[in-house]
């Protein structure tokens, strides 16, 4: 099972947990699994067309999936998936 780190705003869907387990061979499958376990949790992550929301960044092992396979990015059981909102990086 991959480890999914949740942003603060989604933790209420998972009983306040900062990280949960989920499985899927691809990120898309993993998000579907996450939605099954915690209904409503992917509402802000995916658009109605099932694409990644513009202001959400998802990382597999700290690498942004938009530069890998996006929702088709492969996920291994040992992987860490992080979901974060887009914020200004400062300076």
């Amino acid at each position: 099972m991959a480890r999914v780190k949740l942003p603060t705003i989604l933790r209420s869907h998972a009983g306040g947990e900062r990280a949960v387990d989920a499985e899927g061979a691809t990120l898309r499958e993993l998000l579907e699994d996450l939605e099954t376990r915690y209904p409503g949790i992917t509402e802000m992550v995916l658009t109605d067309d099932g694409a990644l929301h513009r202001f959400v960044n998802v990382y597999v092992n700290d690498e942004d999936v938009r530069y890998l396979g996006s929702l088709e990015t492969e996920v291994d059981p040992e992987d860490t998936v992080s979901i974060l909102p887009a914020v200004a990086g400062g300076r």
Binding site: I9, D64, Y67
Partner: protein, 309 residues
């Protein structure tokens, strides 16, 4: 080297090899932007944004420059404002390191503090509200094309000149100006060059206050120029910053550690290559964070509570 004034001394920074940190077959390089007059790459964009506004007529002598900044841009603007005779107000998160606030004060900038737990988004919010008053001119580094242009024509041009055989470029993702500007110049030089972003993993509080729909992607950031983007946490950044000093004698800021961390991760996948890491500033402004303190854990904790990016 001789210049007519300090503004002409901006840029043309050294590109230094990192032989002790280079894996077999790969050469690691660091561009030392800390060697700019106020100690960061922001001198480039401060000069460019102010001069562009003077040329367009947006900035006239009676207007005051106003900018949301976590420090470096404010300090750079303060130098430019001093040299050119403009007033400057900066909006900065209250958890910025004390050196940054001290520097702004001694350059004569007026400081407005924003809530530290709202990060840079908080300072942008307040600056936008203030900027409605016509006496202010806000360069707005996040949306000003003079920002990436300065990097395309300056930083990127210098890299192409000094290391035409570059294969990978790594820089921090803040406004997106460096990656966009240097990225565009490098892709024009050789479309095969990989442009890679190191993004800071900020504290929970900074992420926590926003709905995912309230996100912010800087308007000047051209994501199409990126090939890869990595998240880096405070611990890895601090550790890498320390390695730079310990192994190479290079004294750089914490974001430079994040960039090196990503550069080394990418280099470990290569048989050969020339990887340039853009080190945005020197370590001076981070000494009070204890980032180089003997106990690594304390260093990491202290840095994470301050504005390290």
């Amino acid at each position: 080297m001789r210049f007519d004034d300090v503004l002409d001394a901006i840029g043309d920074t050294p590109l230094v090899g990192l032989p002790s940190l280079s894996p077999p077959g790969v050469r690691m390089w660091a561009k030392l932007e800390g060697q700019n007059p106020t100690g960061s790459l922001k001198d480039r964009i401060a000069k460019a944004m102010v001069e562009a506004a003077e040329a367009s007529g947006e900035l006239t002598p009676e207007r005051t420059i106003l900018e949301p900044t976590s420090g470096n841009t404010g300090i750079a603007l303060a130098m430019v404002a001093r040299r050119k005779g403009y007033g400057l107000t900066v909006v900065i998160p209250d958890n910025a390191s004390e050196e940054r606030i001290r520097l702004l004060e001694l350059f004569g900038a007026e400081i407005v503090l924003s809530p530290g737990d709202k990060g840079t988004n908080g300072s942008i919010e307040i600056a936008r509200r203030l900027a409605k008053d016509d006496r202010y001119f806000m360069p707005f580094q996040y949306g000003n094309p003079a920002n990436p242009r300065a990097h395309e024509e300056g930083t990127g041009e210098e890299i192409v000149r000094d290391l035409p055989e570059i294969t990978h470029f790594v820089a921090g993702l803040g406004t997106g100006g460096t990656l966009t500007g240097v990225g565009r110049r490098l892709k024009r030089h050789d479309p095969k060059v990989k442009v890679i972003a190191a993004e800071p993993e900020l504290g929970d509080l900074v992420y926590g206050l926003r709905s995912l729909e309230d996100g912010f992607v800087p308007p000047i950031f051209d994501e199409s120029v990126l090939d890869r983007r990595f998240l880096v946490n405070v611990a890895d950044s601090v550790r890498a910053t320390r390695r730079l000093t310990e192994r190479e004698g290079v004294f750089a800021g914490i974001s430079s550690g994040a960039v090196l961390h990503v550069g080394l991760r990418v280099a470990s996948e290569l048989d050969r290559g020339d990887v340039v890491c853009l080190l945005a500033d020197g370590g001076w402004k981070y000494l009070s964070t204890q980032a180089w303190a003997p106990e690594l854990e304390r260093a990491e904790k202290n840095v994470s509570e301050t504005l390290w990016w």
